[in-house]
Symmetry: C2
Subunit: 709 residues, 2 copies
């Protein structure tokens, strides 16, 4: 993967080249090498085209060159469609020619196995040598609808309409379906990029480029793998913070089977989908579950202003769909607006008696343009309304096209968003066409209309948040932590001892229940007294994982004599049942009662790096999967959201007369763990299970800590 | 609501009338009274039409009658489109004429308020008096595409294609959208009924009618309220058991806001959506979340054989969509089939080297008809494959229509289901049209294709289940239970005392933790001794709901002296804190330790009657909403599914060395509670919280029982 010195990339030469050489094109129509030249030629490209085809004098009546080096004029960008084994030579010659931007369409690289991977690495070497910015290989190409350039450097069947949505895709084939889908819905694109194997330019480079692209307002991303998760998050955060452009992601390979199917066709490896989900939420990327959902959401934000609030007016000419929309609005956490008296009065005045003037407003089946006009204008003007959702069913008296035009007028005049659902298909087709041509978001189902509105509202809210700067707790001693970790590594151990784990936690100020090792009955009695009664005693042995099963744990020991006796009993039992186990002795800790138990952890994800985990109690994590992940470092708001998003949060906060936990102290522990995860990348996995959360003001303490390096 | 003596309904006269009088039609085009006559006239109706219009000599060149009684020939069915205030008179005259079937299109009844409701009740009276089977009022009408009759007795804009899907809708306006949607997708209907306010004929009558309709294979239902839930369940169970016809339901009013919107436009009242969900699952009705989902599922079952298993072959010409489909298949609990060696060999032989011959089969972007042919035929013939999912993206070399025809041929020859997703829109439109005309289910998204296949598979599995006959446990004494309930009613009490609640449980053989009332310190000591130590003591007072907060509960009392002391302390504290509370004394129970706690309950639902509730522990029900409902009476399989479907089931079953609960005893308790709920309809609500579930073989016992009558 290329390092992200984004400013040095020649992406302008990819998107706005003044001249292009197409290497490997032919006159055999119906082939990719032919189609790609034709698309450039007839697509209205405003620069100069040079076909390079060793075997032809001309391509589609344009004079051809045998080699790119034969072209006398300067060339800004190359499109390479040679068979894969010739691509390296072609790129080398581009380099010699002084070309700094290339798109390699050809397949036959990383995705085909070790040989292809070697070929791809050679490509990368050549690109680096000549400072060539490279898109592909194994891609559909690049489209830029900007009239300044009108570039269709792809073998897509068609040039899309111009628009303010950018689409970036790892899969080439999906692009053809997307272009077809978009065309019929009049969805326009600013840039359309199939980036394939991303040998050089990645989705991250493209995000930074699109950040500064004035033609792009919404960015759509299809990925099958996330190689550099933290880079992606950082780029997304920058794009959203600086420009407010929403980024929507469709990420496949959610299931193991899907991930392995993805690996077999792109040679990619997928990380944990759950962590990916959490990371996207954290950095503000909107993750969608289908292509259709992605476009449903995108047009709401690309076509209309973002809603300032979540109070919607629903306008319909049919009761049933009004009910469906109401259900969907509420389930999407929108509010069905309460109109002001003025609005109610206006509706009462103009609508027939049988109409429902409450929200959802039912203008009744025989409504024509005029009733929609009144309902839309009066509700959109209502200060209690943040947007309008307009539903139409094709009844015999419905003047569908007139109503569509009416809707367009209102949307143009209002600074509140207006979304529509003209239900049906054939009868409403002309009306829908009017809406889409005027960039009014339209949805076949009222339900999807509601979820699109809700998505736009959520994005608007998240965009307004202050940046969540990583917390930096006092009293963390990274030197001490490193020393502990180094010691384990020097000894060749992957798992830290209980003592070392405690030291590591203490180095970062995570309070622990101190444990004392006893190696005789007398020591046990003394250690128990020092810890303070009641105490817990546990066998200390790396070889014994399920301590409870082996009767290696004794609770609620109340005197020194009991402690001595328990020591003997534990050692005896273990020697009988598991004589081969290496036993260090018995650990003695003060027994914590009346506390709530949570789990804290660190995981190292191949895409996202340090990840912090939080869950409520062992059984909850296991049975209810009540666990939350976030990519470190964590900010204060992120920490709070982790705690509040677990399902068991009401228990932590104290329900029905039960005691609350010390949430402030818990937040502090998460902050320290996050710091530790970032400072010590050697830690592969860490588990604090349980962390006792005491009453407010009394803090937390970690009990059983496991660390893998 | 009419009683369901279904055989006496004249629904044949509604759907297959030999003659029809249209009462209230006019020549004013663009009005409902005009359109409805025109639809009948030009729709190809095979019987004789009689317009009845007091003011016109003829309607659209057909001789008109002033009154229905003026028609000399016999008339089988009436369609009434008069204004609402004239409908009663018109129906009365129909009765006098000897007509036994009528459709009242007109609105202005129950849905408009008390006056309209009175008018609707008059309609019902007249219908009963003359034994008229009535559809409506407030509906779009009835369509029957059977060539024998070709009936379009509706004001829908169009006559749908004939097909094997029946559509029943409470909302008229939604029908117009559905007809429009269906037309463009070549979805055909057998019967299409908008039944409006269901003054007489309900969805239940229609289900029974469609059960015996040879033209109908799949039944779709849109409801805004379920009036007679148990009747609906019974009808559905009969339809599915006897004919195997799937029933799909879209039920709006899921949220409170949606329900109240529904109420305002149909005058209906919605019950609990959660109970409705459970009931539908129980009786085999497939509940859908949108109209689109309903049709997506319906065509899979109406067009193709049901899958015999869940192992699918995915065939695609593009990797990305193949990954998306794989994800979706797995998330829908389908299996990505493992091909036999023979199939693998065939694929290897015919497909190019770069193709992926594992499942998902990627025939590669330049695939034409021949590669699809090989991939489809060899996988469909594979004994490890239960169905095929065929994906196409429109690439420049794809011969879309030829591939569509190929798909149709294979589907016709195979007894395994084949579903398709030709992605895009304009380019693939002709291909999709070929598929739909040949009744090959098609989906824009691979994801919805997968969920439709999964729905068909689930239905096939549920249809194969043995009927789940209600369990009838021994040793239930309904006489004794009635006596307890009668006593409370006689005393005018809505809430049973703790003692009475226990008696009620005991009458049905539900084991309880016996409790003893003590009214002095001495009695407390004696009662504690009789119960067996340790005991729990609780203040006994109907006025004190939160006993714990008032220090009215003391646990773990180990001696008679402690019991006496605790009695004094409890009484003293309550007298100080809540002197106005009427206190009966203190309840003393043996304290149960080491048991798991679950909640059992009875609720009375306005639509579904007796409902049994089951959940795991108070905090789980409250925080995780881990609770399951089922409509009583329960069968053994239903009881087992309730227990297994709670999220905390693994805890009950015993995880990680923790003890399991006595699940057999828990099943028995649920069976007894179900019997009690059915036998004693006076019980409005009952809660056993907790029911202690002891170790296997040791049974359960109910502790705190609350009963409302």
């Amino acid at each position: 993967m290329a390092d992200h010195t984004h400013s040095t990339k020649h992406l302008d030469s990819i998107f706005y080249p003044q001249s292009i050489a197409v290497l490997g094109t032919t006159n055999v129509s119906g082939t990719v090498p032919h189609d790609i030249f034709e698309n450039l030629l007839i697509g209205g490209y405003t620069g100069i085209l040079y076909p390079v085809s060793p075997g032809s004098k001309s391509i589609q009546c344009v004079k051809a060159f045998k080699y790119v080096l034969d072209i006398e004029d300067p060339v800004e960008m190359a499109v390479i469609v040679f068979p894969s084994h010739v691509c390296n030579l072609a790129l080398e010659q581009c380099g010699q020619k002084g070309i700094h931007a290339a798109i390699i369409i050809s397949a036959g690289f990383k995705e085909t196995g070790p040989k292809g991977l070697a070929r791809e690495q050679q490509l990368q070497d050549i690109a680096r040598k000549y400072n060539i910015t490279l898109i592909g290989p194994n891609c559909l190409g690049v489209i830029n609808t900007d009239p300044e350039v009108m570039l269709n450097a792809s073998f897509a069947r068609k040039m899309p309409e111009a628009g303010n949505i950018a689409f970036l895709s790892q899969s080439g084939a999906l692009c053809t379906a997307v272009l077809d889908y978009a065309q019929s819905k009049h969805i326009g694109f600013s840039k359309f990029v199939s980036f394939g194997n991303k040998a050089d330019v990645t989705e991250i480079d493209l995000l930074y480029y699109l950040k500064d692209d004035p033609k792009t307002q919404v960015i759509l991303l299809y990925l099958e793998e996330i190689t550099d998760g933290t880079g992606l998050m950082r780029a997304a955060e920058e794009v959203i913070a600086e420009t407010g452009k929403p980024i929507l992601l469709l990420k496949s390979g959610r299931t193991q089977e899907g991930a392995s199917a993805a690996a077999s066709h792109t040679g990619s490896m997928a990380g944990s989908d759950e962590i990916c989900d959490a990371a996207m939420k954290q950095c503000g990327i909107i993750r969608c579950s289908t292509i259709e959902e992605m476009f449903n959401f995108a047009i709401a934000m690309a076509y209309q202003p973002l809603p300032q609030g979540n109070r919607v007016a629903i306008i319909t000419n049919a009761g049933g769909p009004g009910v469906l929309a109401t259900d969907a609005a509420v389930m999407n956490r929108l509010q069905v607006a309460r109109f002001t008296d003025e609005t109610t009065q206006k509706l009462k005045e103009y609508l027939p008696k049988t109409a429902n003037i409450k929200n959802p407003v039912d203008v009744i089946g025989d409504a024509r343009r005029d009733r929609y006009q009144v309902a839309i204008s009066s509700t959109l003007q209502d200060p209690n309304v943040d947007g309008a959702l307009v539903i139409l069913t094709p009844q015999s008296m419905t003047d569908i096209e007139a109503i569509a035009s009416e809707v367009c007028n209102h949307a143009a005049e209002s600074d509140k968003p207006l979304l529509t659902s003209f239900m049906g298909e054939a009868d409403v087709a002309k009306g829908i066409d009017i809406l889409l041509r005027h960039k009014i978001p339209h949805y076949i189902l009222p339900e999807t209309m509601c979820s699109a509105f809700a998505c736009a509202y959520r994005f608007k809210r998240s965009r307004e948040r202050e940046p969540d700067t990583p917390v930096n707790p006092n009293g963390t001693d990274s030197g001490k932590a490193q020393a502990v970790l180094d010691r384990a590594r020097a000894a060749g151990r992957r798992m830290l001892s209980a003592r070392e784990s405690e030291e590591l936690a203490q180095a970062y100020g995570i309070p622990i229940v101190e444990s004392r090792l006893a190696q005789s009955e007398a020591e046990a009695a003394r250690a128990a007294e020092a810890a303070g009664f009641p105490v817990v005693m546990k066998i200390a042995s790396e070889d014994i994982v399920h301590k409870v099963n082996l009767q290696g744990v004794v609770l609620n020991i109340r005197t020194a004599a009991e402690a001595a006796e328990a020591y003997g009993r534990i050692m005896q039992h273990v020697q009988r049942e598991m004589p081969e186990a290496r036993v260090e002795g018995v650990m003695i800790q003060r027994m914590i009662t009346g506390a709530q138990e949570v789990i804290l952890g660190i995981k190292r994800d191949p895409s996202f790096g340090a990840v912090v985990m939080f869950g409520y109690g062992g059984i909850y994590v296991e049975v209810f999967h009540d666990v939350i992940f976030r990519v470190a470092p964590l900010g204060k708001r992120t920490i709070q959201s982790m705690i509040q998003e677990i399902k068991a949060y009401p228990i932590l906060a104290g329900i029905r007369g039960q005691k609350a936990g010390d949430i402030a102290a818990l937040e502090d522990c998460l902050a320290r763990l996050s710091r530790l995860a970032v400072d010590c990348p050697q830690i592969q996995e860490m588990d604090i299970n349980p962390l006792f959360v005491l009453e407010p003001g009394k803090g937390c303490c970690a009990c059983d800590i496991k660390v893998m390096v």
